[in-house]
Amino acid sequence: MLSGIAFWVLSVVAVGTGIAVFRVDSMARASYALAVSFAAVGLCLVLVDLHFVGVVTVLMMTMEMAVMAVFMVMFMGMNPALMPMSMTHGTRTPAVLAVGCFLVLGGGAVLVPWPERRGAPVADPTVALGAALMESKMLVMLTVSAVLFATVVAALCLATTRSRYDRFGDDLRSRPSDPVRGGVGR
């Protein structure tokens, strides 16, 4: 019962802040709203015993929104709080499609005779998750490691204009020549 009330409260928060993301007039506020929405969903996860995953979600999104704020200030040179802006290209088609999407998904959610629960949740889902990760779903995690590696490489290649050869010379023997000294402890 209590969980039911909590769920609905969280749902309203999640959806409401979700809508707010595209209603507020600055990107910073939008990112805050998104963070709240994610936090609400993360808490919903906790409600269904997915403590680990729920917490991970909340933490990750908090970090991610922090990064986004930093990103916007540092790279795009804008003061998010002070730049109200309209950033859409018409809203009618997206609105129609979104409503249609909701009708399809919602209709499916309500009308489809979803299967009954198979088996009961284990006592400690986090332990079960760990066990799965290390056994039957080992390959998934192995691949995820490669994905993370690839992401790092690809993102760095795209995001930085200066390569090591720009900094250290073609034979990597020069002193680093950075227009703006950066890094920690230099």
Partner: protein, 100 residues
């Protein structure tokens, strides 16, 4: 709190995210829309896990989705940075050299 309710909320989140992804010009804002869609997917996955099959598979899937969200966002930032650096804009609509 039933599966249907959870899924309805998830559908709402997904649709709102879709609206954002479709309507926004700025790449970062489109990414937010995509994240919101993923948010809905996460909620649906949790609901499915709890109400239909509380097996480890569902949990791992959740974890994978969250990971995917993270890496996609990281790439999104990288691409947005690239666009800003090379083309001096943050709007996906502003670059239409490639068409036809």
């Amino acid at each position: 709190m039933t599966l249907q309710a959870v899924l309805l909320v998830a559908a709402a989140l997904f649709s709102v995210g879709l609206y954002g992804a479709l309507s926004q010009q700025v790449v970062v804002m489109v990414m937010m829309g995509l994240e919101l869609m993923l948010n809905g997917v996460i909620l649906a996955a949790a609901g499915f896990w709890w109400f239909t099959s509380p097996s480890p598979d569902g949990q791992v899937l959740l974890l994978v989705v969250i990971t995917a969200m993270t890496v996609e966002m990281a790439m999104g930032f990288a691409v947005a940075t690239l666009l800003h650096r090379v083309r001096g804009t943050d709007s996906a609509d502003a670059v239409t050299d490639l068409r036809g």
